[in-house]
Symmetry: none
Subunit: 193 residues, 4 copies
DNA sequence: TATGAATGAGGATTCATTCAT
DNA sequence: GATGAATGAATCCTCATTCAT
């Protein structure tokens, strides 16, 4: 599998650095190749085209969020606790990697509709897990029975996303993780039964 | 004042159509000029450069949201009622113009950091009005006293934005306006005292 | 005659200022019109096109050189004295108008071949007068009999021109007029019998 | 070193031909690329921008003049002989390449101030060698002791330049090289002791 | 005469991708 | 697998000139 080859990872990491430090529109393939320490042409042995690099970057980084959330969902806890852990986990991953937020919240959003559609398909795996928590909460009677799952999830993700983007745009100057309890409280109030 | 000249408006409207129908990266100045029924050079009598067109488009369209919200804020009603009207107004404006959502939710987000920074400055006028409603609600005892205004606003705007984007990406197939009551209920639960 | 109309002169003078202060390639017709205090379109009531303005500027300014030289040539003096006066006169005119040198020595030389050809035609009136002095000198036995008039004139004009250009490029910092005696000596040695 | 790559030279030579045959303002990069037999983009692997091409053209061609003059200066001859050889060499180089004079005397002079400044810096290498000959002549007692070196050089270069330009503008119809002895005589008379 | 809004042709440059080595 | 020189399509903006008023 291509993802296991060392150069694949090398190029992905280089792309994150180049995009974060130069911005989406200044992240030329040649710059990524240089950062990765390979020739321009080598990129095309591992990626179909530039679009493929960008999508792979998102996929690679999103996997961290998804894997952690999967662990949370699989635990034997209440939906409210899972919601809380989810928010904390999301903010924790962003806090741990300065480049990540710049890339996911600002730069990759400048990509064109086609790339964004593929990014959304990847994001769906994450959103589905949030839905799962919400369904668990409804079934357990923790969350309101007549709640629109999709809407609730859009509220949760929209809020987390907006807060994260705001934090990135403020140069990550404040403690994002410290906001988790207040975000949790706000969101829980909206959905609890 | 330039905005009162008919051609200024003509070009703005042409830009919205061209961007919505061709996409951000295929919205060439010459295409906008043709759509507006003017010569390419005429564009530059009304706009400094292409960036200026895009920012002006956002400014012009955002003004509709802001003006309507200002009216709502100025009314003699409870903060909860204003929140409700705000959500309805937001969805109403989006519903009334098929092109608008494509431009604000999808296409203009592909613009570079400089344009986005200017877009955010315009957006701030809208966010400030939401903050105003929240402050009014807290002062009147309708909303929780210890509520973080900024966080609550990020929750509200993040949710509305996410719902709207989702509606646009689903080709505006369902009735966005019909979602307003449920969105209102969800958000109000999160902040009411 | 168009040259006697006040606006004609107004535009010529404006052109000299605009060219000197902005450079040839930044001397747009609209800038000249603004400096002259007329509308863009008005320019075209007095000049056929932009080229015509530039040529007229050269013609107008060159007339000063030519008229003064004509007076010198018509005097009852030796050719050597006339040569001396000519050099002094040339440097004097340049010294008297700071803008003139910038326009004639640097900026107008950036014009295209067609304009330069017309400029050369105007210059010919000046060169012919130099030839006249040289012929007088040869006839009077002051200058070498076997001298090639055209070559001698090219030497004289080439030297004066090179010295003047050098003075302009050194920001007219030194006293050009003070060089006249040495230039005269150098050139006279080359041609005297 | 870039100058040793065949394509660098290819492009320089193509630029000379295109400029000479089409004129400075009609010498588009794409035309130069086509003449050089390379793609437009290839130009930019060897030159920073169009300005860089033009300056490089002048530099490359001026090197011929400078190298030949350096050889002359280094010889064990009198300053007068060197002056004579210099004039002959200058006219010889111009005579050998029909395109060269058009480019150096007419077309490149239409370039803007920035390019001209860089061209003048290159030209300085040539002028310095003329100064060297003059200093040698003064020291050896061949040229006048109280002579102003700079002025004498301006006279020499101004004359050669004027004669050459005149020859180019007359479509190189007469024998430029045949003028060398008379030019030499004229200039030598001006400076010899 | 005078105005000035409108016109529209024209070109340098970037960069994702290829392919001979 | 790896290289990197070469490709070439694609677009924003300027400004001389016109002409309806």
């Amino acid at each position: 599998m291509r993802k296991e080859k060392p150069k694949y990872k090398q190029i992905i990491d280089a792309a994150v650095i180049v995009i974060a430090e130069n911005g989406y529109h200044q992240a030329q393939v040649s710059k990524i190749a240089k950062q990765a320490g390979v020739a321009d042409g080598t990129i095309y042995l591992y990626f179909k085209n530039k679009e493929d690099i960008l999508i792979s970057v998102f996929e690679d980084k999103m996997a961290v969020f998804i894997n952690r959330l999967q662990v949370i969902v699989d635990r034997n806890e209440t939906a409210s606790e899972k919601l809380q852990k989810m928010i904390e986990s999301h903010f924790k991953v962003q806090t741990d990697n300065k480049h990540l937020g710049i890339v996911t919240q600002l730069e990759l959003r400048q990509s064109n509709i086609e790339v964004r559609a593929k990014i959304n398909a990847i994001l769906k795996g994450y959103l589905d897990l949030i839905d799962e928590i919400l369904r668990q909460g409804v079934n357990a009677g923790d969350f309101r029975a007549n709640m629109d799952i999709r809407l609730a999830r859009q509220c949760i993700f929209g809020t987390i996303d907006e807060v994260t983007t705001s934090w990135v745009m403020k140069d990550q100057k404040f403690d994002l993780l410290a906001l988790a309890p207040k975000v949790y409280e706000l969101l829980l109030n909206g959905i609890k039964s």
